[in-house]
């Protein structure tokens, strides 16, 4: 009875916005990049090499609205309906964009349970926040704010940096696997909204008061020349840690924290500020005395002062630090068969004081070792229509892959209407990563904790029908055992298959 309650809580949390988390890939162990979510994970391939552009990823998430929320069709016209948009928005809309390009990646498995990884990537991340009141004020006017204050405080954080890391994963105990990764960071551009307090108040007599108190730190924004050595001054560290635990023979729990770290910005640091002492404007109407005096310029003078008072002042600033968007993954996966897994992952991201959560349920199927697929459903960013998919063509030594959390509706839309507009217009979350890896040595799960379970999974009836997989599985299985035991284990498999059938099959046989 506890499980449904936990699920409800997790699903509720998933309504909140989430940043750059791509979870369809989370269960795709065929990809060397799977360790990005949890350094304790063990990829299928014992050797992986990624050259520049072996991974290109782009991410967009809008926690507030999609195109259909903002527009409607009427009399064959596309109308931007701000009332409709306003009603769709949450109190704060977060728009996140992220991208990553791998420069180099190397994954090596040593022995049966030790995995070493090296990687170097260029990453970019921006997150902007827009309060609902901004749109409400434009669409609904000021009347709704009489006697109230509208929060117009936007926020923007962003960074581009170069990341180089080394990670290891190993199994200290039979059912436990742990991993860690240390990453050195060099920043190129950084923007951090240190303070943003912009408000508009409407008094009972309709007098309007606007005040702004803002402080934005930047690095590299005003740098006219892109000198690489300058960027080496912006440096930092981050780390990933992860753990997996085989709770039941077919049920594995995993937890990880990724991108826990910071970047210190020292190069070309400029601050942009608005001081509330000067950045304020009060308009109570035209002055009666001015009107009587025929001073018609007073309103223009007020507008001029408004523009002047609200012009940010930029000045060289002091060094500052930015935390990376740290992520937390909590997952559970159930091996229905040796090649078919059902998994669920709750994820959260912490960035600049904001915690965003989401939930993904995924089905993962390996069709032999040639094709690995994933289907997922993700709840995040107040978005419920995210059907994700992932596919990797494993033609060793080449592996081509594409994965996305909201990919699947695109072809559906295309087939249905001839265009992908239906998909685009209803999308709040979209991410895709694709690339080409050089891989060798497909291995089955090799962690000691999984060793017996692999054999159990292998015994399932469905798997027997696919010979290549059986062969592959046997190889993989052999791979888990080191040295001379490999052969004997392989030979014992048929016996084990007869002895240990899944419970539901045994129950069916009894009937």
């Amino acid at each position: 009875m506890r499980t449904p309650a936990i699920v409800i809580v997790l699903l509720s949390l998933a309504q909140a916005a989430v940043g750059q988390i791509e979870t369809t890939q989370y269960f795709m162990t065929s990809l060397p990049q799977v360790i990005e979510s949890n350094p304790a994970f063990m990829p299928k391939y014992g050797f992986a090499l990624g050259l520049p552009f072996s991974r290109i990823s782009a991410y967009y998430a809008n926690s507030g609205f999609n195109y259909n929320d903002a527009t409607r069709r009427e009399n064959n016209k596309r109308i931007l309906d701000l009332d409709q948009l306003q009603s769709a928005l949450p109190e704060k809309t977060y728009i996140t964009n992220a991208s990553q390009v791998d420069v180099f990646r190397l994954g090596l498995r040593f022995g049966s349970n030790f995995y070493l990884s090296l990687h170097s990537s260029v990453r970019g991340y921006t997150q902007s926040m827009m309060p609902k009141d901004v749109v409400a004020l434009v669409a609904g006017g000021t009347a709704a704010y009489v006697g109230k204050t509208a929060n117009l405080s936007p926020a923007f954080h962003g960074m581009t940096f170069w990341e180089t890391g080394v990670g290891i994963g190993f199994a200290p105990f039979e059912k436990l696997r742990v991993g860690a990764r240390l990453k050195k960071l060099y920043g190129a551009h950084g923007v951090q909204t240190e303070l943003s307090d912009i408000s508009l108040s409407v008094a009972d007599n309709y007098a309007i008061n606007v005040t702004a108190d803002a402080h934005i730190r930047t690095s590299g924004v005003q740098d006219p020349e892109l000198i690489f050595s300058n960027y080496l001054n912006n440096s930092g560290w981050s780390g990933d840690i992860g753990v997996t635990y085989k709770l039941l023979p077919k049920f594995t729990l995993a937890a990880s924290i990724v991108d826990a770290g910071f970047l210190k910005w020292t190069n070309n640091v400029y601050d942009y500020t608005l001081d509330k002492e000067t950045a304020n404007f009060n308009f109570s109407g035209l002055d009666v005395q001015d009107l009587l005096d025929g001073n018609t310029d007073s309103f223009d003078q007020q507008l001029d002062s408004l523009a002047e008072n609200f012009t940010p002042v930029d000045a060289p600033g002091s060094a500052f630090s930015m935390m990376l968007p740290a992520k937390l993954y909590l997952s559970g996966s159930f091996d229905v068969t040796k090649s078919f897994t059902i998994g669920g992952v709750f994820f959260a991201e912490q960035f600049m004081g904001r915690t965003a959560t989401g939930w993904t349920t995924a089905l993962n199927k390996n069709f032999g070792r040639v094709l690995s697929t994933s289907l997922s459903y993700t709840l995040s960013n107040r978005s419920h229509n995210n059907l994700g998919a992932g596919i990797s063509l494993n033609m060793a030594p080449f592996q081509v892959y594409i994965v996305g959390d909201n990919l699947l509706r695109a072809p559906v839309s295309l087939v249905k209407t001839g265009y992908v507009n239906e998909f685009v217009n209803s999308t709040q979350v979209f991410n895709v990563r694709l690339g080409v890896n050089f891989v060798w040595g497909w291995k089955k799960d090799v962690a000691p904790s999984q060793e017996e379970d692999n054999s159990k999974s292998y015994n399932s009836g469905k798997k027997e029908k696919t010979k290549p997989i059986n062969e592959d599985n046997s190889k993989s299985y052999n791979g888990k055992k080191s040295g001379a035991k490999t052969t004997s284990n392989t030979r014992k498999q048929p016996q084990a298959r007869k002895k240990k059938q899944p419970a539901h099959i045994r129950a069916r046989q009894k009937r």
Binding site: T142, A207, L291, N425
Partner: protein, 521 residues
């Protein structure tokens, strides 16, 4: 190789992506929004003193307690009394008769004979004791008969009561023809008379001179061209008629025209400033309020006409006589545009002796002072003004509904109905903007029994304007602003006297609440 593969893949991906997108779906044809805007329009406090800034400060004034009053003052100056007096010219001849003889030589000048006499100015009824001269002279002509005589002589003139500006009595030696200046001399007279002494002096000679029998030396003196700075003495009983004149009251008379007004403490007064040091009685033979198209209104004075004026007892000073007007309310109700007057001034009326003086600059100034404190009650004060408006740049159809939020905190004891009448370009009425239940906007303050402010009047309401009226407003070209005002009523609704003070203000806050339907192409 790999890079080419990437490029090819990327290009194909982009082409595929864009070929699958109907880009026309992302062209926005219209922006729709229906904001309800609450915006401030006006704010400010307008005090009476603010309004008075543009008023003529010589007309609108404030008492120390802040009570505003209208003041009008006009002064007319008369020199008619001073002009009664002039010092006439006087002449006298003196002759010295010499016996026939041979006069021996003499080593120095010798005074031989002198003649003294009293000269009097022919002035009546004045009896002058002293006169300071600004201008004047003594003309002289001396001659010897027979003219062939070679006797050398000179004439010495002595006027001991003619004192120069340096306090020196006049003594002069003359011969032939000439003039002695009396500028800045002071003549001390005895009832217009002064003493004169003329002396004959024979000049030094080294040879004897033969004087024929019948020889004489003649002197002609003329006192002439007098202009006095002042005269002192008894000036006698004399009258001067002051020229008829008019005191203009300008627009002041129109100020309350048409209104039903009762002023509590209006004051109109005449003051006469007398610089002539002589008792004077002024008889206003004409004193009346005038305006075009109406019969003049007699002004009744207090004290009653004729009025005895105060006079100064020290030269250079003046004395003021205040005369008030008994029928002030009748006068203000009459709303005159001018006051006309004519007067006869009589000095030393019935007086036979005294010490008077008059300066050549002495005047009689008649000044009218009007003070109308804004203290009283009034009704039916109607103000009208027509203003042009141009709302052609605004699309009124975008306004679905509008309300004017108005808050007026009024310290003035003035109630008012406000109406805006809309007119088209040809000044044809389109209708009133406000309904009958919306026009009572200006709420007068409450005052106590002495007219002082007790509590400001407050109007705080929304004035809703229907779509029909908004359309009418946007179709109009002119607006007549109509104000019907009256002073605050008492608790039972009756009239009561109120005061308008400079510190009283009207605080206005106006905003508009409008529902808009915007379709931006």
């Amino acid at each position: 190789m790999l890079r080419r593969l990437y490029s090819l893949t990327g290009s194909l991906g982009l082409i595929l992506l864009f070929s699958c997108v109907d880009r026309s779906d992302y062209v926005l044809d219209e922006v729709s929004l229906n904001p309800s805007m609450a915006l401030p329009l006006l704010k400010g406090s307008l005090s009476v003193s603010d309004l008075l800034e543009n008023a003529d400060p010589s007309v609108v004034k404030v008492y120390p307690d802040g009570l505003v009053y209208f003041a009008y003052s006009q002064e007319l100056e008369s020199e008619d009394i001073r002009d009664l007096f002039t010092i006439p010219d006087e002449f006298t001849n003196v002759s010295f008769i010499l016996p026939g003889a041979v006069l021996p030589s003499i080593p120095q000048d010798i005074k031989t004979d002198s003649i003294s006499r009293t000269i009097g100015f022919n002035m009546d009824p004045e009896r002058i004791d002293e006169a300071k001269l600004r201008k004047g002279e003594i003309g002289y002509v001396t001659s010897i008969f027979p003219a062939s005589s070679s006797l050398d002589y000179e004439i010495r003139i002595s006027l001991p009561t003619f004192i120069s500006g340096t306090s020196v009595p006049l003594n002069a030696a003359v011969k032939g023809t000439g003039a002695i200046s009396l500028d800045n001399y002071t003549m001390f007279l005895d009832d217009n008379n002064f003493p004169l002494k003329v002396v004959l002096v024979l000049k030094r000679r080294t040879t004897p001179v033969v004087i024929a029998p019948g020889t004489s030396i003649n002197v002609q003196l003329s006192f002439r061209g007098f202009q006095f700075s002042y005269i002192k003495g008894f000036l006698g009983e004399q009258s001067a008629s002051l020229d008829p004149d008019e005191v203009e009251m300008g627009d002041f008379g129109d100020l309350f025209e048409g209104a039903d007004i009762s002023l509590a403490q209006p004051k109109i007064s005449l003051s006469v400033t007398n610089e002539n040091g002589v008792p004077c009685l002024v008889d206003f033979t004409t004193l009346e309020a005038r305006k075009e198209g109406s019969a003049p209104l007699q002004v009744i004075l207090s004290p009653a006409n004729p009025v005895s004026l105060n006079y100064p007892t020290v030269m250079g000073s003046s004395a003021v006589t205040a005369i008030s007007i008994a029928n002030v309310n009748d006068l203000l109700e009459y709303a005159p545009t001018s006051l006309g007057y004519q007067a006869l001034a009589t000095i030393n009326k019935g007086i036979t002796a005294g010490d008077n003086f008059i300066l050549d600059s002495s005047t009689l100034k008649v000044k009218m002072d009007v003070e109308v404190p804004l203290y009283g009650h009034a009704s039916d004060i109607t103000l009208r003004d027509t203003v042009d408006i141009d709302l052609s740049q605004v699309d009124g159809s975008e306004i679905a509904k509008a309300s004017l939020k108005l808050k007026i905190t009024n310290e003035l004891p003035l109630d008012g109905l406000v109406q805006l009448v809309l007119l088209d370009g040809n000044y044809r009425p389109l209708g009133a903007l406000l309904g009958d239940d919306q026009v009572y906007i200006l709420r007068g303050s409450q005052v106590d029994a002495s007219g002082e402010l007790l509590k400001p009047g407050l109007y705080d309401a929304m004035i809703e304007l229907s779509k029909e009226k908004i359309d009418r407003l946007f179709g109009s070209a002119h607006i007549i602003i109509m104000l019907d005002l009256r002073t605050s009523r008492n608790a039972s609704g009756g009239a009561q006297d109120v005061k308008f003070k400079s510190q009283y203000s009207v605080e206005i806050e106006a905003g508009i609440l409008a529902d808009l339907k915007l379709r931006i192409q």
